[in-house]
């Protein structure tokens, strides 16, 4: 009786933790299999423990090259989308102008569109224009689909900003430029940073649109896709695991710094 009652009370916790397990299971598998020494070309079945792949992560042809291309594209796409998106967000929150509805739809639609549709239509454009597919076409596409997400993130932050803060700055002898640099921008910074991080993650991990616009350029997701047909090297798991660990450590460190700062000052 008490057991059942307890179970009932914690049912939602148990279900939630099971979902969390479902979410994390593939990462566990990826990590474990980064220490595998597979027979044959595919790394799907456990053979025996080995650290070979960890000691030689770039040991597979083109793998680290593709990683470099992905990082480069993600960095430029983040920069482009963040600058353009922040400008749009400020215009949307701070000004009244004609065609606001049209602008809003143009921002919203890329997020409501299956990637494959955007990918296919972009490819028709590039083919029609006779553009050379490669690094630049990928970058153009990535800036396009990251833009809306940056706008949303920055807009939320700017909207929640107390307009009195800028009035206070103007009241305290800051001209329009000074007000923007000294007050508006620093306060909007977390939103801009969130948008930039989102853009980086989206660009770095994008496969569907990249697949259509890449030509013969191979990004990291393209490399993984190709390897799923040809044979999956263990190094893929090494890189996947390393990215996971680095990102989690990064976030935990950020949280720790935040906590310490809060405790110091409180």
């Amino acid at each position: 009786m008490t057991f059942i009652r307890r179970l009932k009370r914690h049912l939602v916790v148990i279900a939630g933790l099971l979902t969390l397990g479902y979410l994390l299971l593939p990462n566990v598998v990826v990590t474990v299999f980064s220490f595998n020494d597979p027979k044959g070309r595919f790394n799907y079945a456990w053979q025996k423990f080995s650290t070979d792949a960890w000691t030689d992560p770039c040991g597979v042809a083109d793998l680290c090259g593709s990683l470099g291309i992905s990082l480069q594209i993600a960095a430029w796409a983040t920069l482009g989308a963040t600058v353009l998106g922040t400008m749009i967000a400020f215009a949307l929150v701070r000004y009244r102008f004609r065609a606001r509805g049209a602008v809003n739809s143009l921002i919203f639609l890329p997020m409501a569109m299956p990637e494959v549709v955007m990918a296919a239509s972009l490819l028709t454009l590039f083919l029609n224009l006779g553009a050379q597919l490669g690094f630049w076409t990928i970058l153009i596409a990535h800036i396009m689909f990251c833009l809306s997400f940056v706008v949303v993130a920055v807009k939320a932050r700017v909207m929640s900003m107390d307009p009195r803060l800028e009035e206070a700055a103007r009241d305290l002898y800051a001209g329009p430029v000074q007000t923007f640099v000294r007050v508006t921008l620093p306060i909007a910074a977390p939103g801009i940073a969130a948008g930039a991080l989102l853009a980086f993650a989206l660009s770095f991990d994008d496969f569907i649109i990249t697949n259509f616009t890449a030509g013969s350029t191979v990004t990291f997701p393209m490399f993984v896709w190709g390897s799923a047909q040809r044979g999956t090297p263990v190094q893929i798991n090494v890189i996947g695991t390393a990215m996971f660990v680095v990102a989690v450590l990064f976030v935990l460190a950020g949280m720790a710094v935040g906590n310490r700062r809060r405790r110091q000052k409180a």
Binding site: D162, R164, L165, E167, A168, A169, R170, D171, L172, Y173, A174, G175, Q178, T179, R182, V183, P186, I187, A189, K265, A266
Partner: protein
């Protein structure tokens, strides 16, 4: 603190309209240099808009703003020698207290700000908190930072927009005295916007009561309270009992009025309404000016006092005084506050009583006004 004899703040014909809505009707107002001036009114009466036009945050639709001899109407806020303490303070969340206070000095290109900022933080008793961020301070401390941040610039005028609205009652009392002290110390003109009549009366030398975009009456707190000119002022500042009456005759400086079957008398100087015989006037008296005598003792009441009979409808004991609601023939809910000196045990609900007061405490208002203007109702309280 150097005193800049810049002169008064003069608003001439200043108004503000948003589309078809008029927030402030053309208004003339002079705030003498060095005074503590309060703009008092309910929310939406145009007091904040007026303040923002002085600050330069709002462009007036018509009229001019002068500081002394200088016309500042066209100057943007960052070029006006005026600073504001904002409602909810608007402290920069990304800067610490020191940098918040130093902000204005730095924007004007002053390099060595340390000494000035530290002195200013001492003035508002926050020397210890210089390196904290705003959100780490209590409401009262944030409020003092906001004052320091504005005052350090030695503005000609300090504008305060509901600066105490976010504080609880006890802290508000404390800060009222604190602000008054600072104002006396630095001698700068303070223009204070508030909806709290008690706050305006304790702090300001001069109060302008605003309603629906117009100034209803301007004067010292005692003047406004003792001699209101409109029903709005009578009801908004404290409580007034208003009786509809008819002018019967004039005798010397006094006016004699008929209310119900009784006669009331009122000094002519205290009547802001036309006093032609037969005209209607609202006769007002404050609840604490009234004495309450049991009907059995009516003979003991001195002659020459205004009197009204009624029955006690309710009474509530609140310590320093007892507040009665009396159902009188001329006014269904007459409020009377009696100090708790000698309590008459017969004064309980249902008792027949005589209300009486000195004619000198009576005031007269134009009857062509809404008798309930400025009365705070429960619904208004909830919205605000």
């Amino acid at each position: 603190m150097t005193k800049d004899h810049g002169g008064d703040v003069r608003l001439s014909g200043i108004s503000k309209t948003y589309g078809s809505f008029t927030a402030v009707h053309p208004l003339d107002l002079t705030v003498p240099e060095g005074s503590f001036f309060a703009l008092l009114g309910a929310s939406g009466c145009g007091k904040t808009t007026t303040l923002r036009m002085i600050a330069g945050l709002e462009e007036p639709t018509s009229g001019t703003v002068h500081l002394g001899d200088q016309d500042v109407t066209a100057l943007p806020p960052y070029k006006r020698p005026v600073n504001t303490v904002f409602q909810s303070y608007a402290l920069f969340p990304h800067l610490d207290i020191f940098e918040n206070v130093a902000f204005g000095l730095r924007r004007r290109g002053i390099r060595s700000v340390k000494k000035q900022v530290e002195e200013m933080l001492e003035l508002v008793q926050l020397g210890e908190q210089a390196r904290k961020k705003p959100h780490q301070l209590s409401g009262g401390q944030q409020q003092r930072v906001a004052v320091a941040r504005a005052l350090i610039n030695q503005p000609r005028v300090l504008l305060l927009d509901e600066p105490l609205g976010a504080l609880d009652l006890k802290l508000r009392r404390q800060m009222q005295l604190e602000l008054k002290r600072i104002q006396t110390e630095v001698g700068i003109t303070f223009i204070h916007v508030t909806h709290d009549q008690e706050e305006a009366m304790t702090m300001a030398d001069t109060v302008a009561v605003m309603s629906a975009g117009r100034v209803e009456q301007l004067g010292s707190p005692t003047d406004l309270y003792e001699n209101p000119h409109t029903t709005f002022v009578a009801n908004f500042l404290g409580t007034s009992n208003l009786i509809e009456a008819e002018v019967d005759s004039t005798s010397g400086d006094d006016i004699v009025l008929t209310a119900g079957d009784g006669k009331l008398s009122l000094p002519g100087a205290r009547c802001s309404a036309p006093t032609a015989t037969g005209g209607r006037v609202l006769v007002g008296v404050r609840p604490e000016k009234i004495s309450l005598t049991h009907a059995d003792d009516a003979g003991d009441i001195p002659v020459g006092r205004n009197r009204i009979t009624g029955r006690i409808a309710a009474s509530s004991f609140i310590g320093v005084s007892t507040q009665y609601v009396v159902d009188a023939s001329v006014c269904p809910e007459f409020e009377v506050y009696v100090q708790n000196i000698d309590r008459d045990p017969r004064l309980v609900p249902g008792a027949e009583v005589v209300l009486h007061w000195s004619p000198a405490h009576t005031f007269g208002l134009d009857a062509a006004q809404d008798i309930d203007a400025g009365v705070e109702t429960v619904e208004e309280e909830q919205v605000a």
